[in-house]
């Protein structure tokens, strides 16, 4: 009987540790970070500061200064805020992780800014392909290029770019 008990308890322990993935406690993301992407946004006029996906927002704010507009949204149930920083021509969204905020997306919303490679809102899909080459993913309304921890996404309407976004993978 002792053997039976030992077998059962051992099985439970093994099962417990076999499924030992990240704890469920904060609604945050699991998984290991991917390498830095070759796709990032460069802010002209701010010493060509590079804004990268997963960057610490405190550093970004120090470099870029106060935004034109700020908005914060609490996540459903958990602590921490999703924050939106609107600058001229681009918008940075962050996600909380622990006590810090990290860049979760960068959206280029008008043609006053462009990607370091020269793509901008209003450009044709063909011109984008001319710059970036073969897409990672493509539909009639989107061209996407993924590398490392970021995807550079072009949202299209009638064959023209209406929004450019750097998104986490």
């Amino acid at each position: 009987m002792k053997r039976f008990l030992t077998v059962i308890l051992s099985a439970i322990l093994i099962l417990s540790f076999a499924s030992c993935t990240a704890p469920i406690d904060d609604g945050g993301e699991n998984g290991s970070p991917a390498k830095d992407s070759k796709y990032f946004f460069v802010v002209a006029g701010k010493n060509n500061y590079e804004v990268k996906i997963d960057a610490d927002m405190a550093d970004v704010l120090e470099a870029l200064g106060e935004p034109l507009k700020y908005f914060e949204a609490a996540s459903c149930a958990f602590d921490g805020l999703d924050k939106t920083y609107t600058y001229a021509g681009y918008v940075i969204l962050t996600r909380p992780n622990g006590k810090k905020d990290y860049v979760n997306s960068i959206q280029l919303s008008d043609d006053s800014v462009q990607t370091p490679q020269g793509a901008y809102v209003g450009m044709t899909a063909e011109a984008v392909k001319g710059i970036y080459g073969k897409t990672t993913e493509e539909t009639s309304t989107m061209l996407a290029y993924t590398d490392g921890n970021a995807t550079l996404s072009f949202v299209l309407k009638d064959g023209k770019v209406i929004s450019i976004e750097y998104l986490p993978v």
């Binding site: 008990l5 499924s19 469920i24 945050g28 908005f71 459903c76 939106t84 609107t86 959206q107 989107m142």
Partner: protein, 359 residues
């Protein structure tokens, strides 16, 4: 013969010891949402302690459980309602929570908040939110359906059957509350409503960024169809709403799909973001929200409930039940708790405000 019987008894006793030990361990290790938070994790289980003869059942996420006060629906219109809400509740979870509810009762109206159809939300599903919607459900085919439809790639069905497999790492965070609340549920909601006080006006609410695709997913449509079918089968009126939360952005392209669906299925759809309806409700985003327009504070939730109560009475055939003595007595207790909670939360809020201003 005697030896065999002895062996069996030993086996059964050992098995009982194992099961009881593991059950106790599980009860200790499970999160105590009603004490430590997030409180939203406690909602689903709370429902089972209710007397189940509701006229209206809401299903959805924080856009229902923070935006509509069932107390006002009762107090002003005699409508007995309950919100089966949970944080970030996805459409498939709304369906199975509704199916689960209908095992116990058949309300006259079901209110479903269409924000749950947002495809961005489905793409960003997280295990922690799945857990808050599912762990509290009693075992039934509905819970199994909820698990199967919700599980993410790296989740296992067995982890929902034996939550200890996922929560064992909480052992290092255990405190006296984990023992005190092993089997006891502390009530945190008012018929599913989570009361919030305070004011943080809506400003700088971002517009939605352009999306490559606005279509709801097949999975979302499938579960909405299932919800419609279930309500039809039970003779329940399904009311689709879009709660007046300003963020996440509700795209016109989303709204068009819901309008079209509602027309096709002869359902009523109320978009509380509509300016006319907003004016009728009296919601003021400079005063009635505690978090910049995402959710209502208690004043906002009462205004919305007041408008909805009138609508349900005038358009969906709900009658005033305040004359039912037993039910009225139950609600008297609920109202007392609600007012007490409101007073305490206001006192705490005012105190915090004073401290912030002093600093």
């Amino acid at each position: 013969m005697k030896a065999a019987a002895k062996k069996w008894i030993k086996f059964i006793v050992s098995a009982v010891i194992v099961v009881v030990t593991l059950s106790l361990l599980q009860a200790i290790l499970m999160p105590k949402y009603s004490v430590d938070g997030p409180f939203e994790g406690a909602f689903v289980a709370e429902y089972y302690g209710e007397t189940k003869d509701h006229d209206v059942i809401f299903v959805g996420d924080c856009e229902v459980y923070e935006n509509f006060s069932p107390i006002v629906l009762w107090r002003d219109y005699g409508i007995n309602s309950y919100i089966r809400g949970s944080a970030d509740q996805y459409i498939y979870q709304s369906y199975y929570l509704l199916e689960d509810t209908l095992r116990y009762e058949t309300p006259k109206v079901v209110v479903f908040n269409v924000q749950a159809l947002d495809p961005k939300r489905e793409a960003e599903a997280k295990e922690a939110y799945n857990r808050m919607s599912i762990d509290g459900m009693k075992w039934s085919p509905s819970k199994i359906g909820a698990i199967n439809s919700s599980m993410l790639e790296d989740e296992q069905f067995l982890d929902y059957v034996f939550p200890i497999l996922r929560y064992h790492s909480r052992w290092s965070k255990l405190d006296k509350d984990d023992l005190a609340y092993m089997f006891k549920l502390e009530k945190v909601s008012h018929n599913g409503y989570l009361m919030k006080v305070g004011v943080k006006p809506a400003e700088n609410v971002p517009e939605g960024r352009p999306l490559p695709n606005y279509e709801f997913t097949e999975k979302a449509w499938k579960h909405l169809d299932m919800m419609v079918e279930l309500c039809e089968k039970k003779g329940i009126k399904l009311l689709l709403i879009k709660a007046p939360s300003l963020y996440p952005y509700w795209y016109p392209e989303y709204d068009e799909q819901v309008v079209e669906y509602a027309e096709k299925h002869e359902l009523t759809y109320i978009n509380f973001l509509d300016e006319t309806i907003q004016a009728e409700t009296g919601v003021d985003y400079t005063k009635d929200t505690y978090d910049m327009g995402l959710h209502m504070n208690v004043e906002g939730a009462e205004k919305l409930a007041s408008w909805l109560g009138k609508y349900l009475t005038e358009n969906m055939g709900l009658t005033d039940r305040r004359g039912e003595s037993e039910l009225a007595a139950r609600w008297l207790d609920k109202i007392e708790l609600y007012e007490k909670d409101k007073t305490e939360k206001y006192e705490k809020y005012e105190k915090e405000k004073e401290n912030t201003e002093a600093n």
